[in-house]
Amino acid sequence: MARVALRAVSGPHGYLQAQSRWRWPEVAFWIATPLPFLIFPTYLQLASQIAITALFAVSLDLILGYAGIVSLGHAAFFGLGAYAAGLLSKFWWGEPLSGLALAAALAGLVGYAASFVIARFRHLALIMITLGIGLLLAEAANSASWLTGGADGLQGVRIRPLFDRFPFDLWGRTAYTYSLVVLFLTFLVARRLIHSPFGLSLRGIRENAVRMPALGAPSRAYIRKVYTIAAVMAGLAGALLAQTTSTVSLEVLSFQRSADVLVILILGGAGRLYGGILGAIIYMVARDQFSGINPQYWYFWIGLLLIAVVMFLPNGLLGGLTRLASWWRAHLLVMPPS
C-alpha cells in the first residue's frame, strides 16, 4: 500500500487508520480477480496455478519482506503440503477441504520445528541453512520412493469433487475458484497480521534487530512465530497444487521452485504484500507466453525481463508503481488543505 505521508490531518489514530484502510486499487484488484471466467475462459488452469504461486509468494513475503529472513528453501513447506494432501487423498479420503487443513497443519508443524534453528542464525549462514533443509527434504522424498513414488511422482492421487458437486475438471473452473478463495482468505489473514502489533514488531526486527531486545522484545520468539505461520501458508499453497492437478512430484520440493518464488517476490517487490501477487502474475504469464512463442529459448526473454526490472525499477514492479502513483498524486491531484 502506498505509504501515506499525511500531514497531521487527523491525529495519531487517523494516521494509523489510514495505514491499514483498504485503498481503492486493492479493492479494484480483488473485484477483478473473477474476470478470467469471462474474458479468459480457457486460461483458468493457468489462473489457478498463478493464484497458488501468489499464495506461496505471499507466505515468503511474510518472512522475507517483513521479518528480513531470506530463505532459499521455502519449497520445503510447499512440497510438504503437496505430498501431505496427495498421500491423504491416496490412503485416506480425498475430501479437499479437510485434506487442505491437515496438509497445512503438517507443514506448520515442521515449520515450527525448523524455526528453532532458523531463529538462531542470520545473513549468509541463515540462507544456506534454509537451502540445506530444502535439499535434505527433497533427497528424503526421493529415497522414500516406496511412499512418495520417487522420481515418477505420487501415483493414485484421488481428489473428490469440492463439496461433492464441483469436480476438478479439464476446464479448471473449480480449480480456479478454489485456489482464488483460499488465496483471498489467506491474504486477509496476512494483511491483518501485517497491520497488527505483531506485524509492527516484525518490521522492527527487520529495520533494526539490535534495538528490539533493548525494548524488551523477544525477537527469536517472534521470528519462530512468523516462520511457522509462513510454513502453514506455504503448505496450503502446496496442498492446493496437489489437489487441483492431482499430481505430486519431487519437483515441488526442488531448489528450482524455491528460487522461482524468490525471483517472483523480488520482481513484484518484497515487503509490500501485493508484491508476491503481482510478481506471480507477471512472471507466470510472461513465462507462459514466451514459452508458447519459442519453446526452446524463452529463458532468454525472462532473463532480460528480470535484468530490466532490477535496473529500472529498483524495489520491484510495485515499488515502481507506488512511485508512479505518488508522483501522479503529487502533480495531478490538488493536495488537501493541511
Partner: protein, 251 residues
C-alpha cells in the same frame, strides 16, 4: 534513604589484557539524577553494556532492586524496568516515530504477540505513545519516517523509545551527543522534567550540563570508579581535577 533501584557488586570485565571494568560497586537510589563522567576509554559505555546485558561480565553481580539479574537476557532486564538509549542512534529508519514508540508500548503491554487485531484498535497504546512523543516535543513529527527527522529529534526519539518501556532506571548513553550546544540544554530540560520515580544515569562530557542537571556524579577512570559524590564535592575533589587537567598519566 530511598530504596536502591540498581546496584552492582565486584563487577569485572576485560577484553584480553585490556581491563575495561574492575571491581565496580555502586548503588543507585530511586529518583536520583546521576551523571557518569570520565575521560574517553574510561569504560563508561562498557558499564552500561554490562548492566543492560549486552556484555557478559567476567565476574561480579548486578542487582535490579533485590533480584540478581547478572545472567538475565537483555530483553528480560528491560521487562523488569531497566531501559537504555544508545550513543549512536539505533532507530527504525523506515518506521515513523509514532509507529516506533507504539511498537515499544505494545511490547510492554504484551500486545506485541497478537497478530489478528488491527493496530488502530489498540487505542490506549496509541494514545500513550502519542503522549510520550508530545511530552518530548515530537508529537507533530510523529508521522514522517524516522530517517527524515532532524538529528536532534532522533536523539529525542531514542529517549522516547526508552520511556515507552516505563523504566524504573533509565541509562542515557551521551543523550546530547552530536546535538548543537543550544539544543542540548532544551534536551536536558526535557530529561529533568521526567517524573521523580525514574532513576536516571546519563553519560555527559559537557561540565556545565553535568553540574546543572545531575544531583550526584560518578567519576570513572581506567575501568574503575574513582570517586562518587555531589556536584560540589566532585568540583572540589583534587583527583578529578588531575584527571581532567591531565598532569598525571593514567593507564
Amino acid at each position: 534513604m530511598a530504596a536502591t533501584v540498581l546496584s552492582t557488586r565486584g563487577l569485572r570485565k576485560s577484553f584480553g589484557s585490556l581491563v575495561v571494568a574492575s571491581d565496580i560497586n555502586f548503588t543507585l537510589p530511586q529518583g536520583v539524577r546521576y551523571a557518569l563522567i570520565g575521560p574517553n576509554g574510561a569504560g563508561k559505555t562498557t558499564l552500561i553494556n554490562l548492566m543492560t546485558g549486552m556484555l557478559r561480565p567476567d565476574a561480579g553481580q548486578i542487582f535490579l532492586g533485590e533480584d540478581d539479574v547478572t545472567s538475565l537476557a537483555p530483553a528480560e532486564r528491560v521487562k523488569r524496568g531497566l531501559a537504555r538509549t544508545f550513543q549512536i542512534n539505533t532507530l527504525f529508519p523506515h518506521l515513523s516515530a509514532l509507529e516506533a514508540v507504539t511498537l515499544a508500548v505494545c511490547e510492554r503491554r504484551g500486545h506485541a504477540g497478537n497478530w489478528w487485531r488491527r493496530l488502530p484498535t489498540h487505542r490506549d497504546a496509541v494514545d500513550e505513545a502519542y503522549g510520550i512523543l508530545s511530552s518530548l516535543t515530537l508529537g507533530d513529527d510523529g508521522y514522517r519516517p524516522t530517517r527524515e527527522l532532524a538529528y536532534g529529534q532522533q536523539r529525542l526519539l531514542e529517549i522516547a523509545l526508552a520511556l515507552a518501556t516505563r523504566p524504573r532506571v533509565l541509562l542515557l548513553d551521551e543523550p546530547a551527543a552530536g546535538v548543537p550546544r543550544g539544543e542540548s540544554a532544551t534536551l536536558f530540560s526535557v530529561i529533568s522534567r521526567l517524573s521523580r520515580d525514574i532513576t536516571v544515569l546519563f553519560i555527559e562530557h559537557d561540565m556545565n550540563i553535568v553540574f546543572r542537571f545531575a544531583s550526584r556524579i560518578i567519576v570513572m577512570v581506567g575501568g574503575r570508579v574513582l570517586v562518587e559524590g555531589t556536584p560540589e564535592e566532585i568540583a572540589a575533589e583534587p583527583r578529578v581535577r588531575e584527571v581532567y587537567l591531565g598532569n598525571t598519566r593514567h593507564a
